[in-house]
């Protein structure tokens, strides 16, 4: 019953003829969907979605301070106030020792830098799948992109806090030494140390929303068990190895070591253990995430 009234003009006809031939080309991949099947091309797939990753990260950054009154100033005020309180409580009232000659505010700030990165990444990532539920239910892409992209916002705040720290170092006349060349390595370590736990919590949060209540608690608790307001050298020697089980300890010690010149010392056995814990958590995070990834659309 269909009447052959062509809608396209004559010029488009060659395209209609040639396009099947073009799509038949050798580059065509066979995709198989089956229950419980693990994707073989997972990592190359992830790579091909790098633009989506970039644009989602950019979106979260762009939206971060929209419709706020003082905007990005929040990224300065929050660490600054925390630093003042910690300096007063731990430095002035509790009279805890600093690392060598480092002024206490600088010590606190150098510890807060990775800590805020860790806690912001944890918070952003773990909520990301729930807040992006509309995407998860309507489009396919490797789900790993969402928590990682939204945790990248933390790097913006990190940069601002970092500039703040540099300003304070100038003010307190603290000169970094040659160790500062390792800074990029420690920033990467901080990101990886945050990603592991973040991915575990993200995957769990989709299934069990209990984690929405647990995460703020972890963050609050972690602030005090990690050496943010004090130097990890105040921990008695026999406990230091156990203390290093907290992956943030290694990261914070590393930051202080490379920023505060020769004043802060690294406890190397502990640092090695921290590295191992970071690697273990990262592996566990990715494994957990991948195991549950395919059910996300049914759960969010």
């Amino acid at each position: 019953m269909k009447l052959p009234i062509p809608e396209q003009d004559a010029a488009s006809v060659p395209a209609a003829v040639s396009s099947p031939a073009r799509t038949k080309g050798h580059g065509e991949r066979l995709l198989v969907l089956e229950a419980g099947r693990t994707e073989r091309n997972y990592w190359s797939d992830l790579w091909s979605y790098r633009e989506l990753f970039a644009i989602l990260a950019w979106r979260d950054v762009a939206v971060q301070y929209k419709q706020t009154f003082i905007g990005a100033a929040w990224a300065v005020i929050r660490p600054l106030l925390t630093m003042i309180i910690f300096t007063v409580v731990f430095g002035t009232l509790a009279k805890l020792p600093s690392d060598g000659q480092t002024p206490y505010p600088v010590l606190v700030m150098a510890g807060m830098l990775p800590w805020f990165l860790f806690s912001t990444m944890l918070g952003n990532a773990s909520n990301s799948l729930v807040t992006n539920a509309n995407l998860i239910g309507k489009v396919y892409f490797p789900r790993l992109i969402v928590p990682v992209a939204s945790s990248m916002v933390a790097l913006v705040d990190f940069t601002i806090t970092f500039l703040l720290l540099l300003g304070m170092m100038v003010l307190f006349d603290v000169l970094p030494s040659w160790q500062i060349v390792f800074m990029p390595f420690f920033i990467l370590l901080a990101v990886l140390a945050s990603l592991g736990p973040a991915l575990i919590l993200t995957a769990l949060n989709v299934k069990y929303r209990d984690f929405r209540f647990i995460i703020p608690f972890i963050v609050q608790f972690g602030l005090y068990v990690s050496p943010v307001g004090f130097s990890s050298s105040v921990v008695p020697d026999q406990w230091r190895l156990l203390y290093a089980m907290n992956p943030v300890v290694g990261v914070i010690d590393g930051f202080r070591w490379c920023l505060l010149g020769g004043e802060a010392q690294i406890y190397w056995p502990g640092f090695a253990l921290s590295l191992a814990v970071v690697a273990g958590l990262l592996w566990l995070g990715i494994a957990t995430f991948r195991a549950t990834e395919k059910t996300f659309a049914d759960l969010v």
Binding site: L3, S12, S19, E51, L52, V139
Partner: protein
């Protein structure tokens, strides 16, 4: 896999676990506590074995798709039709990798883009320009591709003036137009589309359908879900009819629509409670078999406390947009016989209408000329089979419902 099959599904099934609230209310505190404890034990068990938590007292398996097998060739345009809850959207979700099948397997060759919703991922705080890039990336376009088509997209959407305004300030029409404009410029090898034509005004729908036809004309493989049978009929060349998660018909689109209309028309019957003191319509029925063949056979059952020697029954068919397309009355055509007192009488109207396939709603009047005793306006809606709108014309809502042949000559 032969070279021309691009999608092959074998024994596909998708299972959901759903929880119910048990029907009998707990009567005593003891019952409540026992039930709460049981639920707690069950959810704790689920959690520790890594399963999702399901709310409710009883958990039941629900198969949204079961034993679905089909093959789709390169260049096929397949309409997937079925009632709400038949499993259409679940099938599309499985095919577009959003959710994993519970059993069976699917093989797909080529780049798939799925459009299950217009404007997925639009962020209200971002401007129109920013959202074009965001949405494009989400749908799987590269930055280069979007850049290349940016002007075309803006042109198609018609929101040039508001490109740098956050989309939360857009009217809903502008929002949808921009969103569809991005989606319309996707160029995948396989396109999966779910009920996106349901938005926007008639003019916009016409443009959408035109764009879809363009895609089809390029020889791409398209899977298309819609409740708009006219659009399905004019776009697709083959169809899949789903009901209760199973394929009940696979064939040419006209066959499938015909069967769907027949299935749907089964419940094209309404009965009314009658007040026995005055003449009333007791029931209206549309013959499903006839509707599937494009004929209208309406049975109007009436009841009257007194005999009516010249019963007057009139019916009107209305298109989904509210336009009346056909009427007929027993008075105009003459009727033999009369309605006896207090006895259910059925009056039948048979008509053969030159109408395109679409949904029509039926209104019925009953009286004794010139007095109307009862009227049931839009009392039931049924799908009437008919020829599809010819390719090259806009959807039935735009071109009108009348399908009548004409001759064309160059003079």
């Amino acid at each position: 896999m032969s070279s021309d099959v691009v999608i092959r599904a074998e024994g596909l099934g998708k299972k959901y676990m759903i929880g119910h609230q048990s029907r009998e209310p707990y009567t005593s505190l003891r019952d409540v506590m026992a039930q709460t404890a049981r639920n707690f034990a069950r959810t704790a068990g689920d959690m520790f074995s890594g399963k999702a938590i399901i709310a409710g007292d009883e958990v039941e398996e629900f198969w949204a798709l079961k034993d679905v097998s089909f093959e789709i060739n390169r260049g096929d345009v397949v309409g997937i039709i079925g009632r709400n809850g038949a499993g259409k959207s679940t099938l599309l979700k499985v095919l577009s990798r959003i959710t994993e099948p519970s059993e069976g397997r699917v093989e797909i060759k080529g780049r798939v883009a799925s459009l299950l919703e217009v404007g997925t991922g639009f962020h209200p705080e971002l401007t129109g320009r920013e959202n074009i890039y965001l949405n494009g990336a989400i749908l799987g376009m590269t930055r280069e591709e979007i850049k290349g088509k940016f002007d075309e997209i803006v042109d198609f959407s018609g929101v040039e003036k508001f490109l740098d305004t956050p989309v939360k300030r857009y009217s809903s029409g502008m929002y949808v137009r921009l969103a569809f404009a991005v989606a319309a410029h996707l160029e995948p090898e396989i396109l999966i589309v779910d009920e996106v034509l349901a938005v926007g005004d008639a003019e916009f729908q016409k443009r959408c359908l035109g764009k879809m036809k363009e895609v089809v004309g390029l020889g791409r493989t398209v899977l298309f879900v819609s409740h708009n049978l006219a659009a399905v009929a004019s776009l697709c060349n083959s169809g899949i009819l789903l009901s209760d998660g199973r394929i009940t018909r696979r064939g040419s689109i006209l066959e499938v629509i015909k069967q769907y209309s027949a299935v749907r028309a089964v419940d094209a019957t309404v009965t009314f409670t009658v007040d026995e003191r005055s003449p009333r319509i007791a029931g209206v029925r549309v013959d499903p078999a006839a509707a599937a063949e494009g004929r209208v056979v309406v049975d109007v059952t009436v009841l009257s406390p007194h005999p009516i020697s010249t019963p007057h029954v009139a019916i009107t068919l209305r298109a989904p947009n509210g336009v009346a397309v056909w009427s007929s009355s027993s008075t105009a055509h003459g009727i033999a016989g009369k309605v006896e007192a207090s006895q259910l009488t059925t009056i039948r109207c048979c008509g053969c209408l030159p109408l395109y396939a679409s949904d029509y709603s039926l209104s019925v009047w009953f009286g004794e000329w010139p007095v109307a005793y009862d009227a049931k306006i839009d009392c039931l809606t049924f799908a009437l089979a008919g020829p599809p709108v010819p390719l090259g014309l806009a959807p039935v809502e735009v071109v009108g419902h009348l399908s009548s042949s004409a001759t064309w000559n160059i003079c």
